[in-house]
């Protein structure tokens, strides 16, 4: 019962995040109004520093349960914690110059709290911890989605996000309670064993699995729990939408992965089938609906849904290769989608519109921004030498490896549909003309920095494969 320093090491990133939150809170109080924008710099820089300082906190090769079994200190959790911190830092950069967003200390604080939630979510090894972490992630995000209280769409986004999130989390929680009851323990690494000993019929397990899955599907916006996401993404402040669609979704994926693999090893056949069906439905529906969108944020929302479908392939195949491919996919997806939303944010900040028409002739207004958008969208479409290609490659490889070639085929057909609408956007950007061509799109410095980092990142992930792959494999290996 004695606290010692080594116990804090595994939660060092979270502690640092709390400290950063405190700094932000204080700054929000003491800084004069005009300088509130600089809290963004502090947040972004703080995230960078946390990334560096967290290096000693990296787990041993052998995963261990810490803090009374609340957390599992393993590479999966640690990796994604790092990714979320990265994502939050980038989001701060994008948000800085947003009116009514960037100068609000609360924004950064809420984002930090949400990040803490995600960080704990992906490491949680206990139902109590998991539920709490999920809610800690979600509740600040509800507010962030509705942050523009004078904007009809934003408030509506917060409203819908909240209602739907609260409902699905309640259903999930019911599932948790059943699992707790059946197993007599809240530690997810013991549930499987004790359920097996208790002689619980598979049917009961499947039932609770389905209930839990509802909550997770909501997090990853998987069909049929996807339909909140276009509305929410469209309505939310764009940097928030980017954060929502990447970090929050990735966290959901990690939890889904860990939970399914660890808690339900005895019914893999059943949940494999469910996830497979969900994967197919998600990517197909997401892509088909994305085709007709006129608003770029909505389009990206549907495309995010589709991407969740691809990533689900990695879960559905239930194999080591599958898990690492999914992790790789999420890394790529996080960086890429952040870039896409970030560019949309930078653009929308000036044009004041997220309709496709605002993108007409963009390459003449701002060639570099257009190029960055090209990189981001093509990476989403799965084109080399960008990260998206490698990610899709691994995911499809996992499907083929698992002898689910039909799934890979559906995946590639979907990739083609995806190709179509991404290219359509690029067509607007490069081909169409607009009346505002003479007006360049001024990208602010923090945005430039963020976009550059992300674009370079996309290319690096797509070309220098070894570190990322090893990372993904290590992370994936630590699930089991």
């Amino acid at each position: 019962m004695i606290l010692n320093a080594s116990m804090f090491l595994p939660i060092l990133p979270e502690i640092l995040l709390v400290a950063l939150g405190a700094v932000v809170l204080i700054l929000d109080l003491v800084l004069p109004k005009k300088q509130h924008r600089n809290i963004g710099w502090v947040t972004a820089a703080g995230m960078g520093v946390i990334l560096l300082l967290s290096i000693p906190a990296r787990p041993e090769t052998e995963p261990s349960l810490v803090w009374g079994g609340m957390l599992r200190h393993d590479w999966l959790g640690f990796s994604f914690t790092m990714l979320f911190i990265f994502g939050a830092g980038i989001t701060a950069l994008f948000a800085m110059d947003f009116k009514k967003l960037g100068h609000r200390g609360e924004f950064y604080l809420l984002m930090i709290v949400s990040t803490i939630g995600m960080a704990l979510m992906v490491s949680a090894a206990d139902l109590v911890m998991l539920y709490l972490a999920i809610e800690t992630t979600a509740i600040p995000l509800y507010i962030l989605a509705g942050f523009f209280i004078r904007d009809d769409k934003s408030t509506e986004a917060g409203f819908k996000y909240f209602l739907f999130g609260a409902m699905t989390s309640a259903i999930m929680l019911y599932g948790f309670s059943l699992l707790f009851g059946f197993a007599g323990t809240t530690n997810i690494y013991q549930i499987a064993q004790s359920v097996r000993e208790g002689g619980l019929p598979a049917g009961a397990l499947i039932g609770s699995m389905l209930l839990v899955l509802v909550g997770f599907s909501f997090k990853i916006a998987g069909v049929p729990f996807h339909f909140w996401s276009p509305d929410v993404y469209e309505g939310s402040p764009t940097p928030v939408a980017g954060f929502l669609s990447t970090a929050s979704k990735a966290a959901g994926f990690v939890v889904l992965l860990r939970f399914m693999m660890v808690v339900f090893p005895d019914i893999t056949l059943q949940w494999g089938a469910v996830i497979t069906a969900m994967s197919v439905a998600t990517m197909t529906l997401g892509n088909l609906l994305a085709l007709t969108q006129k608003n770029i944020k909505r389009m990206l929302a549907y495309s995010s849904i589709a991407h969740a479908g691809y990533a689900l392939i990695g879960v559905a195949v239930i194999s080591q290769v599958g898990v690492s491919s999914m992790v790789y996919y999420l890394i790529v997806y996080l960086v890429t989608n952040l870039a896409a939303f970030g560019i949309v944010a930078s653009c929308g900040r000036i044009t004041g519109s997220d309709e496709m028409t605002a993108y007409y002739g963009m390459s003449r207004r701002s060639p570099w921004l257009a190029l960055a958008l090209l990189v981001a969208l093509l990476s989403l479409a799965g084109m080399p030498p960008l990260g998206g290609f490698v990610a899709k490659f691994f995911v499809f490889a996992a499907a083929v490896d698992a002898n689910m070639i039909w799934l890979a085929v559906i995946g590639v057909l979907n990739a083609i549909i995806g190709m179509y609408y991404y290219l359509t956007v690029l067509k607007y950007v490069y081909l169409y003309r607009s009346e505002d061509e003479e007006k360049p799109l001024l990208v602010t410095r923090p945005q430039k920095l963020a976009i550059t980092v992300l674009t370079v990142g996309i290319i690096l992930i797509g070309t220098v494969l070894v570190p990322w792959f090893n990372w993904a494999t290590t992370a994936a290996a630590s699930v089991f």
Partner: protein, 490 residues
């Protein structure tokens, strides 16, 4: 450690493209000069490569091998043999001439050359790849800039439609092939994407029979195989000149080459099983393509469909699965590449002057642009397989290959030669001879010096190969040996 020439070739265009991006967009002249410099460097490197390939030794040369992702057996491995060395040269040639022809592009030349060079890097990468992952990686790099190049700088009327159609067709093909590649990877159990290793993987006959069509057709879509050729004429027509040159000249070879490398060479049993019916498709390509070309009235569509016909010959050569067929196909890839680049250059130059491509409305252009007329005639003669030009060198062995097992197909396919001759002569007559219509009289001028260099350069290559095939053929032959070895000396 030898000079890593292949790596240099692959990445020269990319590096140049990135450098060009750094030039401010309004300094168009500097952009062009930089592009030309890159084109020249690439050309020099490829020529050097071509002539330093040791034909007597054969096999893969200039091999470089660096691990890329060792955990999955992915490596950056490049090397050339007799089959792809000419194609690398071809790419260098087309890149160089493409830059020359594109000198007049005025709308965002910086982006244009960047995308064009990105495309070139992809093409080079595929041609020299000895690793399946690398191959598909560069294959897709070669596909997508096409969309932008066509959509942005293409012919206003059809560019959006054509660009999308093309990209989707090719993308579908490539991802289907990708699935096949993955299946091969896992079925081999070797844990490597190295093609040389996979050659000895010994896939079961059943596996090959199932997967060969995926891989072959996946790539052959880009080769324009019937009935998946539809994208090609539309794409050609809509593309700007240099892109058409690249597209028909090099990209279609990319498809055929990949179909050979991955499909036939890695799954020879599958090839033997399926080729008897695939050859019928290629026959449709050859004859139907020529026929459709002959009834077009749009100059560029004629050339577009003639490419379908000629690429049909390449695939037909593959489908014979014998030495002569492969030899001819190998030569035809090079010959058709240069020829069609020449054709599209001509069409582009004509269009630049008269702003129409309707054949009946043209006439008498040989008086203002004699060199263009000559170049077109040279290209035309090549395309009809006229002896003395490279086309003959290429087509003759293909037909010989056909004779060995499919005499009837040889006879039917030969009809295309006459059809080709008929439309080529018709076009020559209508476009370049006769009276110049009054409406063109004043504003039609001769072409610029750069364009002339490009045309002459391409024409000379065609003639040299035609009269002195030894410059190319032994090389291809040594590559064919490589293929035949895998086919069991068939």
């Amino acid at each position: 450690m030898q000079f890593p020439i292949l790596t240099f070739i692959v990445f020269t265009p990319m590096a140049a493209g990135l450098l060009i991006l750094l030039i401010p967009g309004e300094r168009k002249r500097e952009v062009r000069v930089a592009a030309l410099a890159a084109g020249i460097i690439a050309l020099v490197l490829t020529v050097w490569l071509y002539f330093s390939y040791d034909v007597a030794a054969g096999g893969y040369q200039f091999v470089e091998n660096y691990p890329w992702l060792p955990a999955l057996g992915i490596s950056y491995q490049v090397g050339v043999d007799g089959m792809n060395t000419p194609l690398v040269l071809l790419t260098g040639v087309v890149m160089f001439t493409g830059v020359l022809i594109s000198w007049n592009i005025d709308d965002r030349p910086r982006e244009f050359f960047f995308f064009l060079f990105l495309l070139a890097t992809g093409v080079f990468g595929v041609f020299v790849a000895l690793d399946l992952f690398m191959l598909i990686f560069f294959y897709e790099i070669a596909v997508f800039p096409m969309y932008l190049l066509i959509a942005i700088w293409g012919w206003k009327v059809t560019r959006e439609y054509a660009a999308m159609k093309l990209t989707l067709y090719l993308f579908i093909g490539s991802v289907i092939a990708l699935i096949g590649i993955l299946a091969m990877y896992f079925a081999s159990g070797l844990g490597t994407f190295n093609m040389l290793a996979l050659e000895g993987a010994g896939f079961s006959t059943t596996f090959q029979k199932i997967w060969f069509p995926f891989v072959f057709f996946g790539f052959a879509v880009l080769g324009g195989i019937f009935p998946f050729h539809n994208w090609s004429p539309d794409g050609h027509v809509a593309a700007p000149t240099a892109v058409s040159m690249f597209h028909a000249g090099v990209l279609m070879k990319l498809g055929a080459f990949a179909a050979l490398r991955v499909g036939i060479m890695l799954m020879p049993e599958g090839a033997k099983f399926h080729m008897p019916w695939i050859i019928l498709l290629t026959l449709v390509n050859v004859v139907y393509g020529a026929f459709i070309a002959s009834v077009q009235s749009d100059f560029k569509y004629v050339i577009g469909f003639s490419s379908v016909s000629h690429m049909g010959l390449v695939l037909m050569g593959f489908a014979t699965l014998n030495r002569d067929g492969f030899l001819g196909a190998g030569v035809q890839m090079f010959s058709h590449g240069v020829m069609t680049a020449l054709f599209f250059a001509v069409v582009g130059l004509v269009y630049d002057q008269v702003h129409t491509r309707e054949i009946p409305s043209l006439g008498g252009l040989s008086k203002v642009m004699p060199l263009v007329a000559v170049a077109f005639i040279v290209g035309g003669l090549v395309s009809m397989g006229m002896p003395g030009f490279s086309g003959f060198i290429a087509e003759f062995p293909i037909f010989m290959g056909l004779w060995r097992d499919n005499p009837l197909i040889a006879i039917i396919a030969a009809i295309s030669i006459v059809i080709t001759a008929s439309y080529i002569f018709r076009i020559v007559g209508q476009v370049f001879f006769g009276k110049i219509p009054d409406k063109f009289k004043d504003h039609v001028h001769d072409i610029k010096a750069f364009d002339k260099i490009a045309l002459v350069f391409l024409s000379i290559i065609l003639i040299i190969v035609g009269i002195y095939p030894s410059i190319l053929v032994p090389l291809v032959d040594s590559g064919v040996n490589n293929v035949l070895r895998l086919l069991g000396g068939a």
